[in-house]
């Protein structure tokens, strides 16, 4: 999976915000907030990534088991897809 280019991740006062760009404003009703892990994954999704690659990266960066990381990432990927954030 790879992220859409029509969002920009902004960090304001510790809050990670995905702000829609250009015509994406019309399809996105507001700002999307991400937690620390989600923002980390969003950065990685600048390039095509598999769930396995993301799991390795997240488990290496945060104190979380591979199993838990994989399950969280799968859920997050579904959300990204549902909200039209993936290409």
């Amino acid at each position: 999976m790879i992220r859409k280019e029509s969002f920009l991740l902004q960090t304001v006062g510790g809050e990670h915000l995905l702000v829609p760009l250009g015509s994406q404003v019309m399809d996105t009703n507001g700002i999307i907030t991400l937690n620390e892990t989600a923002a980390f994954i969003w950065d990685l999704l600048e390039e095509e990534r598999t769930i396995e690659e993301l799991t390795t990266a997240v488990a290496g960066r945060f104190e979380v088991s591979r199993g838990q990381a994989e399950s969280d990432i799968t859920l997050f990927a579904e959300k990204l897809d549902q909200n039209g954030l993936l290409q």
Binding site: Q10, V12, G13, G14, V25, I32
Partner: protein, 352 residues
């Protein structure tokens, strides 16, 4: 891990609070021009479109885009483009287009009277977060009495229609004056016609450039104003719960602390009502100007002893900007606000 924010208010409060702690310029206003195609008597800024002195003072499109880039680095997230009338600038889209790729939440203030199909098409390609359209009456007679511009009511409605047709997020804002106060309900009906958000404001300030203002002929009397305010129970409750009386903080609205305004010539000011300190951003850069603004705000006086002693202070909108505009210095009471505050106290305390 993520959520699409539906409680926008809560998120904004959180961002605002964090920005206040860090003195971050979260909200920036670019006053692209003081010129306007209308001639509202109560306007605090408007100059004629043909005013060459006003035009020659304006920053170029490239300068605005450069300042936006600098401001973003310092933490700007919300950017308001206002005037005068933003669409009198033929190069408006040379400013706007690059800004839409910066990851900002952009709002536009306009009368919509210059929003043609072509303008609306260009906006729809890169829509702003919202367009706030000022409304000055519910029919041509009243609207044009306020704006002093024949044909402006029809152009305004046509402009709104063009934006709405393209699904651009439009909010209607009625500016209430003595001339149109009787049409508030009918103006609300105009908003309902397109199912648009609607708000109304009647607290009018004088001109910020020292030129003669027609404000006295336009401002509502305190009783007229509060008759309108009382129709909004949320607002009444907000005043009842206001903590102004306990605060000696000078810019309690956080103007100058989380926000600033850059005027058409590039001078950074606290807000649209306070044309000071006027630090030239093109000369010193946004970062340095913001730092200097912080020093200005820190040094600004809090409420005067007279205001702090007033038993209606909780109900008062007094701030350094109002004092400056009406008294020429950043402290001291303002007669119009005093009358409103005492009227509020009388009405809202007796109703409890």
């Amino acid at each position: 891990m993520s959520r699409l924010t539906d409680d926008y208010g809560a998120l904004l409060n959180k961002l605002q609070k964090s920005a206040a702690e860090h003195r971050q310029p979260l909200n920036v206003t670019f006053e692209l021009t003081a010129r306007c195609n209308q001639a509202c008597r109560m306007c605090y800024i408007s100059r004629p479109v043909t005013d060459s002195i006003a035009r020659n003072r304006e920053l170029t499109a490239a300068e605005w885009v450069d300042i936006a880039g600098q401001a973003k680095k310092e933490g700007m997230l919300f950017l308001l483009l206002t005037g005068g009338e933003i669409f009198v600038r033929p190069d408006f889209f040379e400013i706007y287009r690059p800004l839409t790729g910066m990851g900002l939440l952009i709002s536009l203030y306009t009368s919509a009277t210059l929003v043609t199909d072509s303008v609306a098409d260009q906006l729809a390609e890169m829509p702003p977060h919202r367009v706030e359209v000022s409304l000055y009456g519910a029919n041509a007679d009243t609207y044009e009495t306020v704006t002093g511009t024949p044909g402006s009511f029809a152009r305004c409605l046509k402009g709104i229609e063009a934006l709405v047709k393209r699904n651009i997020n439009v909010v209607l804002k009625a500016t209430i004056t003595r001339q149109n106060a009787g049409e508030l309900y009918d103006m609300q009906k105009i908003a309902k016609r397109w199912d648009l958000q609607f708000s109304a404001s009647w607290l009018l300030t004088g001109r910020t450039d020292g030129m003669p203002s027609g404000i006295d002929a336009c401002r509502l009397s305190p009783s007229q104003a509060l008759a309108i305010e009382e129709a909004d129970p949320d607002l009444v409750e907000e005043w009842r719960n206001s903590e102004m009386s306990s605060g000696k903080e000078n810019f309690y609205c956080q103007a100058g602390k989380t926000s600033c305004l850059i005027d058409p010539a590039g001078a950074m000011n606290v807000c649209s009502d306070l044309p000071a300190p006027g630090i030239m951003v093109p000369d010193v850069g946004f970062r340095e100007a913001w730092k200097e603004l912080q020093r200005f705000v820190e040094a600004a006086p809090g409420l005067s002893a007279e205001c702090l002693d007033c038993d209606a202070i909780q109900y008062c909108a007094i701030c350094p900007a109002w004092s400056y505009l009406e008294n020429g210095r950043m402290a001291g009471s303002v007669e119009y606000l005093c009358k409103i505050a005492h009227e509020r106290k009388k009405r809202y305390e007796s109703e409890q």
